[in-house]
Amino acid sequence: MTAADAQADPAGAQAAGSTLMIEHLDVTYRVRGQDRRAVRDLSLRIGPSESYGLVGESGSGKSTVALALTRYLPRGGSVTAGSIRINGMDPLAMGPAALRDLRAATVSMVYQEPGRALNPSIKVGRQVAEVYEIAGEDRGSALERAEQMLRTVQIADPRRVMERYPHQLSGGMAQRAVIAMALAAEPSLLILDEPTTALDATVEAEVLDLVAALREEFDTSVLFISHNLAVIAQMCDRIGVLYAGELVEEGPASEVFEQPRHPYTVGLLRCIPRGGQRKDHGRLDTIPGFLPPPGHALAGCLFAPRCPIAQDRCRAAAPPAFITGPGRTARCYLHEATASLPRNTPADLELPSQRDARRPVVRLQRLSKTFDSRGAAIRALVGVDLTLEAGETLGLVGESGSGKTTLARALLGLIEPDEGSVVTLDGQPLQADARRRPRDQLKALQIVFQDPDSALNRRHTVRRLIRRPLRRLAGLSGGPLRDRLADLVRSVRMEDRHLPLRPSQLSGGLKQRVAIARAFAGGPRIVVCDEPTSALDVSVQAAVLNLLTDLQVKEQVTYLFISHDLGLVRYLSDRIAVLYLGRIMEIGPAQAVFAGPHHPYTEALLSAVPSLDGQRPARIRLQGEIGSPADAPAGCVFHTRCPRRLPTGECESSEPLLREVGAGHLMRCHIPVDQLAVLQGGSP
């Protein structure tokens, strides 16, 4: 097959009536006098009412594509080659007036942060109505249509929402308002750039459902940009995988995820725990190396340095886009060999043979925390009883605002719990404030924070960041300190040459390794992992998770693993605790919690997770968003959103107790467990 053949449009028929047609697009940023190509020879088409997903890791150029389409490239960025046609019009050739019309009427964008897309000083109603006014309606009818539109995006009480300012809306509500504005102009092309990344899983599910429903209703073409493969799998008809600004694979979503033909796509998919995979099934695979720096001039395939099957010809000349099936292309000479791609990381993993000796290490009893906010008592944690056992991983899940981080910080002594709370380590009470804890208590409990940029002092070198805890907690100095430092650096798979660097000189994954080394320096008993990979790319996430698993085996530590990603929690956890408004709603062995019967809240969380495999448990959706801990509902705190609320009124009147429903499996629900099992239809 020749390159010329491969470049030919596989479907042919789409050519005529494409909503969006990009051909051989090159985008270059000029940085300090040097040109850096961010998008390379990109061609794609989106047909009328088609949904196209663009996936890639950070730095792959996916947002640059979106910005180039509407000529919103930042200063220094320019389209240096290729063409763009939106409904047959060329935005690159447009004057200011035509461009404004294009942005007003033909293309709409929705960004990641709804808070930034709205003007903070204008009421929501006016902002939505403005779109209609620009389209030529008078003020009254514009407001009327804005109200209709807000109703369409399933805002229950649009009149009230219209009277509010953006900061008075929750994240999900604000994103709905932004989507309402985007759709108000009835655009032919809707660009969604990570529209749900900043939202909770339950809210994300609602917003995604909404976008899917509106797409039908408005018959709009969608360009959906995300780093989240599962979201793309759920939302898109066709997808394109972007790597270093190049479209490396393209095709129908289900086929690409089923049978990826480019080694990069294969690698990405292997990095994610799928279909109930657990850590005892073996390590996750990783993609070694890094994205090439923007603008480098590499001969040959861009992915070759990280590819396990790269050959000499891959390094010599860039591969063309090969047609690998109807409507499918892959930029790889070896696209036929990808099914049997060797692993980068061996799967074998020694797990501790027996954890039967269930020895409690830390016990939390009646742990409560009340914050005072201008006189209002915010009960962030209410009577939490929890035991952490030696060598286990306890997954802690719940929406933001459920009290996960408060629980972790109270355990660590970073915030003081309310009077009457008891935290014991090996039966001995722990000082409530970390500042008063003796060294052995400090040593025992450490944390890996979510955001390594915030967790590492940016003025300190890696050596200093790791040496200090060795000195403080392990009490080492001189020769033994040097030896242990070298050991520790090796055990988090870093090298000596990283030691003199500062955090800003490290990639995200390396920064998180430094944070992990710091947490392990004193030989901890318990390490809190607070969303340790949520700031990282998929390929890096897998390596960090493998490292955490390896260290757990080696050091016999207990993890309290906080995450909003239920896939990760399922992969890592031995037990799972589900938190809602500061109360444990369900706790039990991971298998039992995932297998069900579930607490209705757990059920809702599970059905909110987009899945790569397209198998979804019976979908239930929550009403609204997590309530305020300042005025938790009476009775069961979850009853206001519970889809399975009892008609007897019991849920509204009395708070259920946490009672045992299976071996070590507790649930806080009035509905008898066998009835829950029936309601949930034996869902997986």
Binding site: V31, P288, P305, R409, A434, N457, R472, R518
Partner: protein, 296 residues
């Protein structure tokens, strides 16, 4: 990628070179590219040289009176003329750089040290300490600098040391306020929690963890205050509370000679005034550059 014989396959990805740090230049390299900085620094260096060498480079003795050549206009012998006592204006301007620079720099250093320490304590401890200190700072800020300085100088008697201490103390609250807000930004970050989990003492956390991160704010504040300090020193000298005659001093010289301005002897007032202005402009040029480079 590393070979298959490596000991740590799960970490193979770190064996590949980390992405090179973005081609960022060190801040001082960026500074040197700014023409405003070059101009400001040149003027500043000129005055520093004058302050250091003083009478060694002055064409005449700045104290020598020539009673036969008083109030002489600029000429070949006296480029900037002579004053009422027949002293060479150029020589007095050159030698006068010493007192103003010495006092202003020393006072700003003192104020910055005090202010930074106070700001760190206020921002780190917060609560009651912060509230009390904040009210105190506001109280000091409410009073005009010159009036406060007056009080102290009258009480303590004018001397170089008094001036340095007074201006330093008066400037400290301003600097403390800036440092405090920078510390508050830092205290949101997790590395301070991490330090607490290592059992670090407050003094260590403030000096080793937080201070290096607020240094840019302190630097900007220092250069801004230096400009104000020069102006304050000149003002106090002009009012007679600074360096005492016959020591050459710009402010004092303006005060001594502005009475004869009406008689047309403009050079005796203009040149010391120009010297003050040029020094303040030079400091502000440097300040702007430092601020912009640190902000970028």
């Amino acid at each position: 990628m590393i070979g298959s014989g490596d000991l740590s396959p799960p970490g193979a990805e770190v064996a590949v070179a980390a992405p090179p740090a973005r081609g960022q230049l060190a801040p001082w390299r960026l500074l040197l590219r700014r023409p405003t900085l070059i101009a400001g620094a040149a003027i500043l260096l000129f005055w520093v040289a004058c302050a250091l060498l003083g009478s060694a480079i002055a064409p005449h003795d700045p104290l020598a009176q020539q009673l036969l050549a008083t109030n002489a206009g600029p000429s070949g012998a006296h480029w900037l003329g002579t004053d009422q006592l027949g002293r060479d204006v150029l020589s007095r301007v050159i030698a006068g750089a010493r007192s103003i620079l010495l006092i202003a720099v020393a006072a700003t250093v003192l104020g910055t040290l005090l202010g930074t320490a106070l700001g760190l304590v206020m921002g780190y401890f917060g609560g009651v300490i912060d509230m009390l200190a904040s009210r105190l700072v506001e109280a000091v800020l409410a009073l005009p600098v010159v009036i406060v300085a007056f009080l102290f100088i009258v009480a303590l008697g004018p001397s170089t040391a008094t001036l340095v201490v007074v201006i330093g103390i008066v400037f400290a609250p301003l600097i403390a306020r800036t440092v405090r807000s920078a510390v508050l930004v830092e205290s949101q970050l997790d590395y301070l929690s991490a330090a607490r989990l290592l059992g670090e003492k407050p003094a260590h956390i403030m000096a080793v963890e937080i201070l290096p991160n607020v240094v840019p704010a302190v630097l900007v504040e220092f250069t801004v205050r230096l400009g104000y300090a020069i102006f304050t020193v000149a003002t106090l000298s002009f009012l007679g509370f600074g360096v005492q005659p016959p020591t050459p001093d710009w402010g004092a010289d303006i005060a001594a000679n502005y009475g004869v301005l009406a008689a047309g002897y403009w050079w005796e007032t203009l040149f010391p005034a120009l010297a003050i202005a040029s020094l303040i402009v030079a400091v502000n040029l440097v300040t702007d550059s430092v601020e912009q480079v640190l902000a970028s």
